[in-house]
């Protein structure tokens, strides 16, 4: 049996959650295994219905627990995997997915491969995925580098892995096998499980459009030159109803708060247009903005890495270019008004 963890947001499967089910289904198909799914929380059933996984069984856990408690979630996976003799447990390589799987790995003392983008389970596969190691490819440096690795068998216990966005499923998709059986997982969270759980949720200070929601992000790097230079970016972002972002050097210099940082250790963004002003495009930054539909780079250096990774480029000093865009924008709008 392949066990997949269904990640959802108040009953709606996340994109990665859905991809993970697909990945796990393909794995089950490939190994000729059954697919079972775990969903947790009060709205787990709704999520399962929405996801419609091609699974034999969906286990619903912790229906009475209205909050996130990673160890308790892991406990559900451990119970279901143990009871069903899972060959593998597959979860999304999201913040929560990775955390829950880390707890599962810790509780079971099993190896865990996070953020896999490809999997070849048949390398030396015998029944149930075999006794040999599985070959997999996973992200390093947030996807700037790929690692080929081997994941050892668990001596009758499952192999644990999480799946990165856009991972290549290890086989054709699995066809639905009819409506899955819905079963309560039956796990009861103990005090240890609940020692870490979300208490309150508060809205962070700061107003305007958040980076994750913005359709346009005007982002600045070292080339902005200082805190004051961001007024130009603010101006353009405000005209476009977008948000201001920045690179790591900017937060390190204290020019902007960290919550504005786009990158490996900041926020991953996916706007319609990402305007990178005076940003060289270090790999740690690019992993944060590669989700953007389009990237426009404004830079004095035609050889800057970002110029090769952008869709559009303006060669020039942002201090000249941005005011011109603002003026042109006002002119265009004035004409429209």
């Amino acid at each position: 049996m392949i066990l997949a963890f269904l990640e959802h947001d108040a009953g709606t499967p996340t994109q990665l959650g859905a991809e993970t089910i697909g990945f796990a289904g393909a794995l089950a198909d490939r190994l000729d295994q059954a697919l079972e799914v775990v969903a947790v929380g009060p709205e787990a059933e709704k999520a399962a219905a929405a996801a419609a996984p091609p699974a034999e069984v969906v286990h619903l856990g912790l229906g009475g627990l209205g909050t996130y408690a990673p160890r308790a979630w892991a406990h559900v996976l451990a119970d279901v995997a143990g009871a069903g003799g899972a060959v593998a447990v597959v979860a999304p390589g999201s913040e929560r997915g990775n955390e829950v799987m880390a707890h599962l790995a810790a509780m079971t003392d099993l190896p865990l491969a996070t953020n896999c983008v490809a999997l070849d389970p048949v390398a030396e596969a015998g029944p149930a995925g075999g006794d040999g190691p599985w070959r997999l490819t996973r992200n390093r440096w947030a996807g700037s580098l790929l690692e080929d690795a081997e994941l050892d068998p668990g001596q009758g216990r499952p192999r644990l892995l999480t799946v990165a966005l856009g991972a290549r499923p290890p086989g054709a998709g699995r066809q639905p096998v009819g409506a899955p059986a819905i079963r309560p997982a039956g796990t009861v969270a103990d005090d240890t499980d609940l020692a870490v759980a979300v208490g309150d949720v508060v809205q962070p200070e700061g107003s305007g459009v958040s980076l994750t929601d913005a359709r346009v992000i005007v982002s600045g790097g070292r080339g902005v030159g200082g805190e004051d230079g961001f007024a130009l970016l603010e101006q353009l972002a405000s005209l476009l109803g977008g948000a201001v972002g920045c690179s790591r050097v900017v937060t390190s210099e204290g020019w902007r708060p960290h919550r504005d940082q786009v990158g490996q250790t900041g926020t991953r963004v996916s706007p319609e247009l990402y305007i990178a002003c005076g940003i060289s495009g270090a790999i740690q930054h690019m992993v944060g903005c590669k989700g953007a539909k389009r990237i426009l780079a404004i830079n004095t250096d035609p050889d800057a890495p970002i110029m090769g990774k952008a869709d559009y480029a303006v060669l020039g000093d942002l201090h000249d270019v941005l005011p011109a865009i603002v003026a042109e924008l006002r002119r265009a709008r004035g004409a429209a008004d």
């Binding site: 004095t300 250096d301 035609p302 050889d303 800057a304 890495p305």
Partner: protein, 838 residues
């Protein structure tokens, strides 16, 4: 990204401060069709200009470097990018104070404003310095900082604006096409540029680019560590980039320079870290830029304590952090000088490399003038790419010297200081003999030359009364009283000198005479068997060489010159021979050994092993011929640089030891002793007033000023003749004179012995400035044991170049009386040359 154009009159590779400056100066001189390429983006393509600390102290012990810096300051000021900050070298020890006083004397000679400071004075100027740690300092008030990137940009854009220059960034040079020994094209990743002239201004990448053309630019990238600490509380209220003088903490090989809110702390104290030119990362591979390598804190941290000691509160501020730290790459060369000029290996290939920010615009101007006019206004022969002997171009040599020189950047380097590493590259054929005699070797151009011989120790006692004991350690360093003993023994009997380092060039062919006549000042259309001393001039009349030429046949000449300048002289000859091949130059240095035999008993010694007529009539002065010495044929040349009867004996290298042994054996009854270069190159020649190229003779002074003009100018045209004729029609602005220290009545224990480059002043302490604005200083200095005085050569304005004039020499901060003993060219010893012509 725009591609490379198809044609260029000149391709400049490298858009750092040098390349940009060169483009501008070429444009100013009327050149057009210049193309400047760089693999990096502009304005900062990622070379060493981009991370330089950008400060300029106006003083150097090297006159060439000082002049280049002075010119650069003028240029930076004109570009509006110079900020005068002042600079102070602080001394932690009395030894360093002496070095600072030495600088004061030379600085005064060369017109650089500076003055000594007490610790209290320094504290007033730089309140954050721990004055308890220092014993004094030397202030250079005209020190300043520049924006080198801006300067480069301005010069580049000006050259573009007048339509002389096309700039192509982000283009990588992939090859240089050479056909028939000449540059034809530069191949880039965006196309091929046809051109006849390429200038490599690539800093640390220069060796790599030159190699594409099959040529050498012998420099090595090396690490100079720098950290930037901030924000410094004290700097918060200051305006602009710099408000306090730059401190050079020279005893710890470090500097501290304000840069806005930060203090930049640089070090030349860490272990030498050389980088292979091929190992410099690409722009894409670099975390910062290719020349800002990852900082290695283990190399820098040992120096931190020194910096903290000097500026405890400022650098000890817990709120100030190390915000930037790099292993910055700089270029080091085997002799510390830049590498400029045309490649002797590939026609049309030029170098303007190994420049610091402080010389860069000056270098750019010099090279531009050189390219356009054939000659730079400033004398940069010490930086000429052609100066390197083949072994000096090897990676092993470059690395060895760079490694050793790195920690001397702020060191106290004695003018005679010898290298420790990379020795023994070239040995005279009689090396085993001189070694057995306990020779103490000084190196010139790789040759190990006996400076004096331990075997002559006993002579010191014999001549004790005529030998000076130098009480100051500095004056006695790299010196031995044996030199003076050898000198006196030669003058009393005879001396045997290993001159194996001579560069020997045979010029032959039907056009040889005509070619040499066109190059040399002296007439070379002389009978076969004559030896002629001659200077070479450049078109402007400046001195380019002085050497001797033997006419061996109707169309064959042998040119002999010193090893130090040998490669430059060789290049000068090659450049001025006809291209039709009617005259050929062969460098036969390695085939011949030269042994000098001089002294009143020289004829007796040689006669003992040679049956030929060696009498004055039978073998007159200024002639040469082949003689038989035992079973060797020896080319004997009767001339002298020491003022004695004798010969230079040229013998095939393989027969040199036999000749040495014969002469040594025959000489014993005549008092023959081995004599080192200390005598040959300094004491004996200075007693005779003979000029030394590079010290007394430079393109800065003319033939007449050096007193080397002939009674008449030959009718045949020669390079520089017009200028020389014009010069002769005017009285000289200065004359090279011999001066003697006058120590009568002074305490021997307090006497100092100048070694060169000290200021010559009036008795009132005023500088002597000639009509051309040049100040008098010591160009050569040495003992004169036969005349009982320490002798100096110096150019003096007419008012002072009168025998008997009393002046002073400033040495280590003190002034000592000197007297003009010979005005103009002449000898204080045997002024009528009786000895040589006896």
């Amino acid at each position: 990204m725009s591609g490379a154009p198809a044609d260029a009159s000149t391709v400049i590779i490298g858009a750092g401060i040098v390349g940009n400056g060169l483009a501008w100066h070429l444009a100013q001189l009327g050149e057009t069709g210049i193309v400047l390429v760089d693999k990096g983006p502009l304005p900062n393509p990622g070379g060493s200009t981009g991370h330089a600390s950008n400060f300029l102290f106006p003083f150097e012990h090297s006159r060439m470097m000082l002049s280049l810096t002075a010119d650069s300051v003028v240029q930076y000021k004109a570009l509006g990018v110079f900020t005068e900050s002042g600079g102070i070298e602080v001394a932690r020890t009395e030894t360093r104070m002496q070095e600072l006083r030495r600088k004061v004397s030379t600085a005064r000679a060369w017109g650089v404003d500076c003055h000594l400071l007490s610790p209290e004075d320094i504290k007033k100027l730089v309140p954050y310095v721990n004055d308890e740690l220092i014993v004094g300092g030397l202030s250079f008030p005209t020190t300043g900082v520049v924006d080198s990137l801006r300067a480069g940009t301005i010069m580049r854009e000006r050259a573009q604006a007048i339509g002389a220059l096309e700039v192509v960034g982000n283009v990588e040079v992939q090859g240089i096409d050479v056909v028939d020994g000449r540059v034809r094209a530069v191949r880039t990743d965006t196309g091929t540029i046809r051109t006849e002239r390429v200038v490599v201004c690539c800093g640390v990448w220069s060796p790599r680019i030159a190699r594409m053309a099959g040529a050498h630019i012998p420099l090595t990238p090396a690490v100079h560590q720098m950290v930037s600490v901030g924000p410094i509380g004290l700097f918060a209220g200051t305006e602009g980039e710099i408000s306090y003088p730059i401190i050079r903490d020279v005893d710890t090989f470090m500097y501290e320079r304000q840069h806005g809110a930060d203090m930049e702390v640089g070090s030349y104290a860490h272990r030498p870290i050389l980088v292979e030119p091929d190992d410099i990362p690409s722009i894409a591979e670099s975390a910062l830029s290719p020349t800002e390598m990852p900082f290695t804190s283990e190399d820098f941290d040992p120096q931190l304590a020194d910096a903290l000691d000097l500026m405890p509160e400022l650098l000890g501020d817990e709120a100030a952090g190390v915000r930037y730290a790099i292993n910055g790459l700089i270029s080091l060369t085997p002799d510390g000088h830049p590498i400029l000029g045309p490649s002797p290996e590939v026609g049309g290939l030029w170098s303007a490399a190994a420049s610091w920010i402080k010389e860069a615009p000056g270098i750019a101007r010099a090279v531009a003038e050189w390219m356009v006019a054939g000659r730079p206004e400033l004398d940069v022969h010490e930086a000429d790419l052609a100066r390197f002997h083949p072994h000096q171009r090897t990676r092993a040599h470059v690395a060895s010297r760079a490694r050793e020189a790195f920690n001397k950047t702020y060191g106290i380097v004695h003018p005679s200081e010898q290298w420790v590493e990379g020795r023994g590259a070239r040995r005279s054929p009689v090396h085993a003999r001189t070694e057995a005699l306990g020779a103490v070797y000084f190196e010139t151009a790789g040759w190990e030359r006996p400076q004096w011989y331990a075997s002559n120790e006993a002579l010191v006692d014999r001549y004790a009364e005529r030998i000076v004991t130098r009480p100051a350690e500095w004056d006695a360093r790299w010196y031995s009283p044996i030199v003076e003993a050898e000198h006196l023994a030669m003058r009393d009997g005879a001396g045997l000198v290993d001159l194996g380092a001579f560069c020997v060039f045979d010029v032959s062919g039907p056009g040889a005479l005509a070619a040499l006549e066109r190059i040399a000042v002296a007439r070379l259309d002389v009978p076969v068997g004559r030896v002629v001393y001659t200077p070479f001039l450049d078109e402007a009349g400046g001195m380019r060489a002085d050497l001797t030429v033997m006419r061996l046949g109707t169309s064959s000449f042998r040119v002999v010159t010193g090893a130090g300048v040998g490669m430059l002289d060789r290049q000068w000859l090659l450049d001025h021979l006809d291209r039709d091949g009617s005259a050929q130059l062969a460098d036969v240095t390695s085939g011949w050994a030269t042994i000098g035999l001089w002294g009143p008993r020289a004829r007796d010694v040689l006669s003992a092993v040679c049956a030929e007529d060696l009498s004055h009539a039978g073998f007159p002065y200024g002639t040469c011929r082949v003689i038989e010495v035992g079973d060797s044929e020896v080319l004997a040349s009767r001339i002298s640089y020491v003022g004695e009867l004798g010969w230079e004996l040229y013998v095939p290298a393989e027969a040199a030891t036999a000749l040495w042994d014969r002469l040594a054996g025959a000489g014993a009854p005549h008092g023959l002793v081995p004599v080192g270069i200390g005598v040959y190159g300094t004491t004996a020649r200075i007693e005779k007033g003979y000029r030394s190229f590079g010290h007394d003779l430079t393109p800065e002074y003319t033939l007449c000023e050096a007193g080397l003009e002939r009674r008449a100018v030959k009718h045949t045209d020669f390079v520089g003749r017009t200028a020389h004729l014009a010069e002769r029609s005017r009285p000289p602005a200065a004359r090279l004179c011999t001066l003697a220290l006058d120590y009568t009545g002074t305490d021997p224990g307090s006497r100092r012995y100048p070694l060169g480059q000290e200021a010559i002043l009036t008795e009132d302490g005023e500088p002597l400035v000639d009509a051309k604005g040049r100040r008098s200083y010591v160009t050569s200095a040495g003992a004169g044991p036969s005349v009982g005085s320490h002798l100096l050569l110096a150019y003096l304005p007419p008012s002072a170049s009168v025998t008997g004039t009393r002046l002073v020499v400033e040495c280590m901060g003190e002034r000592y009386p000197v007297r003009v003993v010979v005005e103009g060219n002449g000898a204080v010893f045997d002024p009528t040359n009786q000895r040589m012509r006896s």
